[in-house]
Amino acid sequence: MPTDLRIGPEAVWLGRTARDKAEAVDLCGRLLLRLDAVQAAYLPTMHERERSVPTYIGEGVAIPHGTDAARALVKRTALAFVQFPDGVDWDGHRAVVAIGIAAHGDEHTGVLAALARVLSDPAKAERLRQAEDAATVVELLSPVGTEPAS
């Protein structure tokens, strides 16, 4: 399975603020744009997706992404980690981390598996929410279930 994607420091924005979910989703989209992972038209589909099924997954983390139809607007699979220390109201939940996703394959499975593992461990989840440098995020979200790098 192609699970070679990793989050690098360029994909981590710490200490951001957003007034509401829409602004937070936009910031994730802007980071995906900056990573040259999506076309600009991908961003509205991230909001569209939030209106159908919100992407808050628990432990203060949301994973906004576009719709199935928007896959054509994805240039390359990428993840965009944005931290909001003051929290953002996400349909009644408080999100402190939003991880924007753009995917056309399964290359990000390893990182999401790492995320699931981090969130099932309260101490690690807290480290992720409170991360003060990109290296902490990169380390916590190192892909799991992948072949060792050659």
């Binding site: 992407t55 999401l112 598996a113």
Partner: protein, 102 residues
């Protein structure tokens, strides 16, 4: 209503709207607990659920779409992406060979 015995489950499909976020995350989680029992776990967009899926897991808001896409296949809905009781129910049915119904 559809039902299936846990011992007949060979493929579980986690479906979501786009098939690129939560379903990917859940697939990795479910695969950890189900693959030791010989059950394959895949993710898919709710509109592209493979025909050989024995059981479908999806967010409760997508259950009716999943049912109309695959009539006759057991579709189990969940509310929470982490720690929803639905995941434990599916695991138990597979582990104990119990019947699970939607």
């Amino acid at each position: 209503m559809s039902s299936i015995n846990g011992s007949d489950i060979k493929k579980v499909v986690v479906a979501c709207d786009a098939g690129m976020g939560s379903s990917v995350l859940l697939t990795s989680q479910m695969s950890k607990s189900l693959s030791p029992h010989g059950v394959a776990v895949e993710h898919a967009s709710v509109d592209r659920i493979p025909d050989d899926a024995d059981l479908v897991l999806c967010h409760s808001g997508l259950v009716s779409r999943a049912r109309s896409a695959q009539p006759g296949t057991v579709v189990i809905g969940f509310q929470m992406f982490l720690g929803d009781p639905a995941f434990a129910r599916v695991e138990q049915a597979v582990r104990e060979g119990e019947t699970i119904a939607d």
